[in-house]
Amino acid sequence: MTLAVVAALALAQTDVDARLSIYTDSDRTTVVSPFVSASAPIPEGTVSAGYTADIITTASVDIRTMASQKIVHDTRHQVSVGYSDKIKDTTVTAGYVFSEENDYLSHGGSLSATQDLLEKNVTLGLNAGYEHNLVWRAGDFGGNKPFDVFTLGAIYTQVLGPKLIGSVSYDLIYGYGFQASPYRYVFISIPSDPGHVAVPETDPPLRVRNALTGKIAQSLSDWIALQGDYRFYADSWGVVAHTVAARLIFEPGDAWTVRITARGYVQQGASFYQPVYTEPLEFMTAGRELCNFWSALGGVKVIYNYPSRGTTRIVSFDAKIDLLYIDYLNFPALPYRIAEVYELGMNLRF
């Protein structure tokens, strides 16, 4: 589906996007992510391909509380290909994504279609995807467990005025299989028995997720635009989340663009999550992403559009820094996390 988006955006031109993202946080985790994607027109449509990786070095709370190693190194590779074609006002896109790491293997396919209506004042999009994953403990591929994901999505985009556009989208994600971490253990503290017992975490095999998102962009002047998003999320594990984001974009000339981002997220955790388990239960998790927490993100991105040279119509360079603060409300092992994300990018369009 990721490739579907990339391919759909470049139906009539060759586009190369290269970037490097570095994530580092106070939970002793660093992730370096190189990314490259390219798309090019062919006689019948547009083809695209991409590669990204996550090069991870971590001694996070999961590892400190359980694993024998003090620092873990891992690399995730992801390759994707896509094909798009536009027939009159309808764009059809197909994509395939493969990713693997030393304890995870994933194949995913997607199909999407967008249709322009009402003199292109409305765009309707539908997408469907399927992903087959295998999860295992590193070095124990024979003990792999499957995890399948089906996705369905719809998006409605409407031009609301010469300076105003908005969209509403809905995603349904059906996941079935092994969804826990193969490494995480839950500690059970039985009051009548000194000490505690550690058992592998057990998440419910079925998770049905729903996400409803609204976006709007309003031009405030010839060179300032304001964007806002709201997402409501709820799933069958009891997780309920609200996300609000705003971006102020300054375009003082053809060369420079500056974007300021603010994002807030608040989450009610999974119904089976407990900070402390006092008895064995059918489902138990030690995942901090399933507890109650809130987070705030702020960031700045600067884009420079280099003047055209030869056949290269557009070359742009961008740099971004985001700061993320996460406040875990009922996760005793980690009260908060502060993260920094640095990103450098270059985009060429022929």
């Binding site: 990713s99 790491e101 005025g161 997720r209 964007q227």
Partner: protein, 68 residues
């Protein structure tokens, strides 16, 4: 499919007067693009989805965890 198209036309006609092609100069600016840069969006979605309980609504970020 017919139902979807009919509902879309109804929603669209209730919303606002159509904006013609020659009125869309502002809407074509980078700052008015709702989806933004797809490469940046993919990296950002993957980073957030492996650290939050919620997923979806901002495009899919590919398989695997890469989170630890």
């Amino acid at each position: 499919m017919r139902l979807i198209v009919t509902l879309t036309i109804l929603l669209g006609s209730f919303a606002c007067a159509p904006v013609h092609q020659y009125q869309r100069g502002t809407l074509a600016r980078d700052g008015m693009q709702l989806e933004g840069d797809p490469g940046e969006a993919q990296l950002n979605a993957h980073m957030l989805q492996s650290r939050e309980g919620a997923a979806g609504g901002y495009g899919t970020a590919g398989g695997g965890c890469g989170c630890n």
